[in-house]
């Protein structure tokens, strides 16, 4: 495997920043998953693709648009009709899917080197993300495991809620550094820690 270099490397400064005298309300980190895949089903083949995802990852997709789930190491969520993002801490997930998603079912696209995964956690995670994206981050509207596709200016972002106050944001690798810097600025007022 090609050794990957993080686009955040020059700007990721571990430690506490901003207004943290009264505590840290945001924790930022790069999760660096080994595999990030996009799966797409042809019209009418969606149920088959969902069962393939279950077989390969062990993750069941709840019904409904944007539904998803995570077990900590692996995550999956719908981001468009018949389309899913599947993430694994380990590399090589694409080969597990390559044989299972037959040409009759749909397609597999390996985006592992094309996306950067940023985790924002803490009691003010909803508050900070709401400054970026015009979507409802409240838990009843955006349950744990669910995914959303949206944009911050022209930076396309896929967001999965992986905990009550934790979100994983997938952005284009080429935009990741500027997005990270913006996220840091937005977190300054509440105090943030980079891990």
């Amino acid at each position: 495997m090609v050794e990957r270099q993080s686009p955040l490397e020059p700007v990721l400064q571990v430690g506490s920043h901003g207004n943290f005298e009264h505590g840290v309300d945001i924790i930022l980190s790069e999760t660096q998953p080994g595999s990030i895949l996009q799966l797409a089903a042809w019209p009418g083949e969606e149920k088959k693709l969902i069962s393939v995802i279950r077989t390969v990852t062990g993750l069941a997709l709840p019904d409904g648009a944007g539904g998803g789930s995570t077990d900590g190491a692996r995550s999956v969520f719908g981001f468009a009709p018949g389309k899913f993002t599947v993430v694994d801490e380990a590399e090589g997930l694409v080969s597990a899917f390559a044989g299972a998603v037959t040409p009759a079912i749909g397609t597999v696209t390996d985006l592992s080197h094309g996306r950067t995964a940023i985790r924002i956690a803490g009691p003010k995670a909803e508050w900070v993300l709401a400054k970026f994206f015009a979507i409802d981050f409240a838990l009843p509207a955006f349950p744990v495991g669910a995914g959303r596709s949206t944009v911050h200016h022209d930076v396309f972002a896929q967001i999965q809620r992986t905990g009550a106050d934790q979100f994983d944001v997938y952005v284009f690798r080429s935009f990741a550094r500027s997005f990270w810097k913006a996220l840091c600025h937005a977190s300054e007022e509440v105090g943030y820690e980079v891990q």
Partner: protein
């Protein structure tokens, strides 16, 4: 202005791209009917009221949508997937328009 995407739910209009008048009918590519091509390229109903439009949720699920928008009030009375045969396969958002 909010557009309720059948997949994503209500989203700001900034997430969408206007793809043009939804009333046009494109002639077959080999057609030499100049009147039909002329109508496709130039003729518009330009109604003061409900208007059929094609939008893409470009900053979201990227689906192409059929939208009925009132040109006087901007009220949107209907949003569906443009690809009709995909409707049955799509997993609709609970409470979303279908």
């Amino acid at each position: 202005m909010l557009i309720t995407c059948p997949y994503c739910g209500p989203r700001d209009v900034l997430e969408f791209t206007y793809q043009g008048d939804g009333n046009r009918e494109r002639p077959q590519p080999a057609s030499q009917n100049l009147d039909a091509w002329n109508a496709y390229v130039y003729d518009r109903l330009n109604p003061a009221g409900d208007h059929n439009e094609i939008w893409q949720h470009s900053g979201g699920c990227r689906s192409h949508l059929r939208v009925v928008r009132n040109t006087l009030t901007h009220e949107i009375s209907s949003t569906t997937f443009a690809r009709g045969d995909h409707k049955s396969a799509a997993r609709h958002k609970a409470g979303g328009k279908s």
